[in-house]
Symmetry: D2
Subunit: 347 residues, 4 copies
C-alpha cells in the first residue's frame, strides 16, 4: 500500500504521536504520496504497531530516531514534533525537500508575540498553511517550507475570514471553543486521564493565555486590514477528536441576516473543504470526524447586535494532518484535494 | 427512609423525568422533608423503579396521575412538568401548599418576552428561586410560590452578578455554554440518541433563539440597574450532566486583576453553594456532579479588555432540583443548606 | 464522486439509518461501485443531508420511497431494512440484480430457529456473506443474493472458527460481548438516549434470548461438524461503534499455548480482514473504528482449562456494511478487498 | 462537617487517589465517623483541593506524609495504598486502631497464590470485608483488621454466592466483566488517557492472568465447599466508574427458572446492599453510581444449560470505599448501613 511508486515519498517525524498517526492514516490512503521513513523520540526502535495499532498496514515498521540522516532523501518531510525542534532539523534538510511543520515554531510573524507566548527566541516565519485565506494558494504553490496552522486558529479563521473580508463585523471578537482531548497530544498528565475527562467539560488557558490567541489575531487582522481583538477561551470536552468554535463579533451597522448568509456563500463558493450548512442546521463535530472538512453556520442575533459563527472541524484532520497534506499537495504540484476525505465517520 | 415523620411532606409531579428523579434523589436524603405522592403523565400506574432504577428505596412506589387531588395535602409540591401545565394545577392547590415550579411558566416578568420566546399568553410571575441574588432570600422566605430558574440562567447569573453589582463590566455580555444531555430531558429525539451525542459537541439555538436568553437579560439587568445585552450560544456536550458557562464582558475602565478577584471574594463570602476556586485552577463540571454547588473562576484579559468568568454547575442539581430545594428550604423556614450536598461524585 | 462510470451501480434501501449511512460512506470511496438511488421509509422526500450530515458529497440527494421501481436498474441493491421487508422486494427485483440483505431474513437455515427467535414464517436461506468461512468464497462468487451476517455472529464466528476447524476446543462456548449503541440502530427508545447510555454499561437479551444466538450456533456447528452450544450475553457500552466479543471454550486435551497460536496463524494466513495481534497485546475496538478489520488475540488459561479469544470489530463496518461490500465484491467479480479500509480512525 | 465530635475519628492514607477520594466523599456524609488526618505519598504538603476538587469541604486540608505518626491516634485508619505498604504501617499502629486495608495485601489465604499472582512474600490474611458472605458479619464484628475485597471479586462473589450456597450450579465458572477506568487508579499510563479510552472497549489480563482471579476462586470455593474453577476476563469500558460482571456457570440438573429466582430471593432477603431486580429488567452500572449497592439479575439459559448472573456495582463505592466503610461500621459497633447511600446518581 505504501510502495506504489507514485514518485512522491514522505517521511513523518513524530510518528508515534496523535498528529503523526493521523498524517500516516491519511498518507496510507493518498494516491500520490508514498510513506517512507517514520521517526520519533523515545519510541524509536519499536514497531509502529505498538503505538498506532489502528494503522494495520504499517504495524511492523520500525520507528527510527528523529535525525536529519533518517529524514533525508524524501520529497516531503512532515514534522509533528514538540515546539523548538523543527528549526534545527529543517536547516539540515536542504532546499530539495518540502518541509511541513505541524508545530508552532514558524506560524507567527511577530517575534514579540512568539517570545511572549512561547518563550525563547523566534525561529522565523514560514508560509502559512491555510489555503483558504485570500491569496494563500499562490504562496503555498511556491513554498518549500510550510507552517501548518494551529487547530483552534484553523477553525476560527475559517469561520470569520468571510465576515472580515466583507466588512460585516467589528474587529472585536469573542471565541469560546470546545476541543477533544487529542488536541493535547499523548501527554501523561493527570488531567488528561480518561477518569478525569469523561463526563466533564472544563476550561483552561482562560483570559487570553492560550498560545493560539496571537495566531488568531494575526490571521484575522490580516484579513480585516487592521487590528482585531480576540478574547479566546478554550475548553476540553469528553471526546477524543473535534473542535466546535463559537465565534461572536459585533455586527456592522445595517447588516441583515440575508446579507450575512449571502456573503458567506459567496466567499466559500468553490472551497472544497469548507461547507456552509443549509439554513436551520447547526454544526456538530461528528459531522467532520476523520474528514478534512470545516462545517459552519452563521446567524445574526439582532437583539444583541452580534454575528455568531459556529465552526466544527476534526482537530487532527483539517486542524492538523489533513490541513498539512492539503498545503503539501499545493506545494508539490498535486491537486489540492488529492487523498483528502470529505466524508466523515459517523455515528 | 421516607417515613420519618419530620412534619414536612412533599409531592413531586413529573416523577418519571430527569428533574423529577433528581428531586427525589435529594429529597430521599433530606432530613427535614418526607417524600409523599409521586405523579406523572403517561407513566402513571407504573412503579417508579421502571423509570428511576437508581432510586432503590422508592422502586415499588406506584406513580399516580398528575391531578390536583393527588397533589393535595402536601406541605410542598414540586412541579417538574412541561411548560404550560403549572398554572392550572397551582390554582387548585390552595395557599397552604408551597408550590415550587421547576418549569419556565412563572420566571419572566415581561409578558412580551414570554410570548416572544415561549408563545401563548403569560401565566404570571412568581418569586424567583435564586437565593444568591441580592435581597432574594427575604423574598423567598415569605414566598408561597417559587419559580425555579432555568439551568443556564442559574450558571450565568451566579457567574456575573458579582461583576455587575460592583460595576466591573460593561453591560454587553457574550455567553457560550456547554450542557450535558439531561438538560434536554428524557425526550425521544434522534439528536439526543447516544449514538449521536457521544463523541460530538454541537451547537443549537444559536443567534439569541434559546428561551433562557431573556431570563439572563432579566437577571443581569436587575443587578446592573440598567439594560444588559446578552449574546447566548448553548452547545451540547457528550456527558449526561453538567453545565460549563463561559461568560465574557468588557472590563470597566481601570479594572485590575486583583480588584476583580477581590470583588468576587467579597460578593461570595458566606455563600454556601457558590465557590470561587483558588487562583490558577479552572472549573470542570465533574467538580460539581451531584452537588448543589456552583464553582467559578475569574480572569481579566487585559489584551482583549475583557472579564472572563467560567462557571460549572450540575444542571440537574444546582441548576434545577437542588436549587428548587434550596429555595423551598427558605420558604419552609428550614435552614437553607439542609439536605443539599456540597460534595460531588468524582471521578 | 458518484458519477465515475465504473460500470457497477448500487442502490441503497434504508439510506437514512446507521447501516445505510455506513454503506454510503464506504461506497463513496469505492473505486468500482457508483452510488445510485437512495431510498428509505418515513424519510423519503427529504435530502440525505438531513439524516447523514457526515456524507457531504450526497447532502443534496433526495431520498426516494423504497419500492421495486426505485431500486430497479441497478447492478447491486443493498437492503438495510427492518426484518421482514426484504423477501417481497427481492422477489420483484429479478435475477440480474445482486441483492445484498443486511437484515436477518435470510441468515438462518432452520425455519424452526427463525420462527422461535424472530416470529412468523421463515423467508428462506441465502448464501451467507462471511467470506472467511471455509469454502464460502466460492459460494459467494456465484451468488445472486447474499445474507449479510449479524454483527455479533460476525465477531464470534471469526474469533472461533479457527479453533473449531482445528479441533482445539470443546463445543460448549460462552460468549459475552460489548456493543456500541449504533448496533441498535436509530430507534427512539429511552434506553438509547445519550443521558442513559453515557457512563453506563448494561446487559440485555440475557439467558440466550438474543436473536443472534442461533446464528452463532449455526456457524460454529457447521465448522465443528457437530452441535455446538453457545451461551451468549450481549451488553451495551457507552460508545457509538464497536463490538468486543470475549469467547470462552473448554480447551481440548493436550492443547498448548504455542499450538493454539500456531493454529490461528495458520488459519488466518492471507486473510485480508482478520488480524491476529502480536503476543502480549489485546484488542480494543478503537483499533478497528471505521475499518473492515477484525482484530483478535488468543490465550490458553491452563488453570481454568479454557481457550479465550477476544475479537474487536466495528459493528457498522466489518459487522455490517463493510462485510456486505466484501461479499458483494466477490459476487460482482471485483477484487474482494476493493474499496474496503484496513486502517482505523484513532484516537 | 468533619468536626462533629461523634467520637469515632478516621484517618485516610492515600487521600489523593481515587479510592481515597471516595472514602472521603462517603465519610464526609457519615453521621458516625469524623474525618481526621489525610496522608499520601508524593502529594504530601499540598492541599487536598488540588487533587480532589469535588470535596469542597476539605479543599484546604493539607495532606501529610503517610507515616505511623501521622496515622496514630485515630479510631480507624483506612489504607488506600499501593500493594506492599500496608503490613509495615499496620505493625506500627497498635491494636487500639481498627485498620481497614483497601489494598490486596491481606486478602488471600494461600501464600502460593499470593506469590504467584502478586510476587514476593505473603503478608498474611485478615478478616475478609464482605459482610454478605455467610457467617462473615460475626467475624467482622470482632475484627481489628479488615482486608477489603477487590472490586471484581466483590461483584462476582455477590453474584454467585447464592447459587453456590444452594447448589444450583456446577463449579466451573466463566466471568467477563467490564470496568470503568477508575479501577486502574490515577496511574499515568498511555492506555488510560482519555483519548485512548473514550469510544473504545478493550480487554486486558486475559487468560486467567488478572490478580483478582484467585480471590474469586477462594470466595466461591469457600461457599461451594469444594474447588471452583474460574475463567475471568476483565475489560475496560469508556466510563469512569462501574463494573458490570456477567457470570456464567453450568446449571445443576433439574434447576428451573422459578427455582433459581426463588433461591436468590431467599438468599438476599434482608441484605441492605444487594438488590435483585424485578423480572424482565437487567442491571446497568448507572443504577449504582455513587451508591453502595450491588444490583443483580439471574437467568436460566435452558438451551445452553447455563445459569447467567449479571451484577452491577460502583467499583469505587460498593467495590472499594463503601464496602470498606460497611465492614468498618460492623467492627466499630455501628449500624452496618450507617452513612452508606443506597441511592445512585443518575442520569
Amino acid at each position: 500500500m505504501d510502495s506504489g511508486g507514485c514518485g512522491v515519498k514522505a517521511a513523518v517525524a513524530g510518528a508515534s504521536g496523535y498528529a503523526g498517526g493521523e498524517l500516516l492514516r491519511l498518507l496510507l490512503a493518498h494516491p500520490g504520496i508514498d510513506v517512507g521513513t517514520l521517526t520519533a523520540g523515545s519510541s524509536a526502535g519499536t514497531p509502529l504497531g505498538d503505538h498506532q495499532p489502528h494503522l494495520a498496514d504499517l504495524a511492523d515498521r520500525i520507528i527510527q530516531d528523529t535525525t536529519p540522516e533518517a529524514l533525508a532523501g524524501h520529497d516531503v518531510v512532515f514534522l509533528a514534533l514538540p515546539h523548538g525542534q523543527s528549526a534545527a532539523l529543517a536547516a539540515q534538510l536542504g532546499p530539495d525537500t518540502l518541509i511541513v511543520d505541524c508545530g508552532a515554531d514558524f506560524r507567527l510573524t511577530s517575534a514579540a508575540d512568539w517570545t511572549g507566548f512561547y518563550g525563547g527566541p523566534h525561529a522565523g516565519t514560514w508560509p502559512y498553511g491555510l489555503p483558504e485565506l485570500p491569496g494563500q494558494r499562490e504562496i503555498l504553490a511556491a513554498a518549500r517550507t510550510i507552517a501548518v496552522p494551529g487547530c483552534y486558529p484553523t477553525s476560527v479563521t475559517l469561520g470569520l475570514f468571510p465576515a472580515f473580508a466583507a466588512g460585516l463585523v467589528e474587529p472585536d471578537v469573542v471565541v469560546v471553543a470546545a476541543s477533544g482531548t487529542s488536541g493535547a497530544g499523548r501527554s501523561l498528565k493527570p488531567s488528561l486521564l480518561g477518569s478525569e475527562v469523561m463526563g466533564s467539560v472544563s476550561a483552561y488557558g482562560v483570559g487570553g493565555a492560550h498560545r493560539h490567541t496571537p495566531e488568531m489575531v494575526q490571521n484575522l487582522s490580516a484579513v480585516a486590514g487592521g487590528p482585531v481583538t480576540v478574547s479566546f477561551t478554550p475548553t476540553l470536552a469528553p471526546m477524543a477528536r473535534g473542535i466546535l468554535a463559537t465565534c461572536v463579533a459585533p455586527a456592522s451597522p445595517g447588516l441583515t441576516a440575508a446579507g450575512l448568509r449571502e456573503a458567506y456563500q459567496e466567499a466559500l463558493k468553490g472551497e472544497p473543504f469548507v461547507r456552509l450548512l443549509p439554513e436551520g442546521r447547526w454544526p456538530a463535530t461528528a459531522m467532520t470526524l476523520g474528514a478534512n472538512t470545516a462545517v459552519l453556520q452563521v446567524a445574526l442575533d439582532e437583539r444583541a447586535g452580534r454575528v455568531v459563527v459556529v465552526v466544527a472541524i476534526d482537530n487532527l484532520t483539517k486542524g492538523t494532518a489533513g490541513g498539512a497534506i492539503q498545503s503539501a499537495n499545493l506545494a508539490l504540484g498535486l491537486p489540492e484535494e488529492l487523498g483528502l476525505p470529505t466524508t466523515g465517520v459517523s455515528p
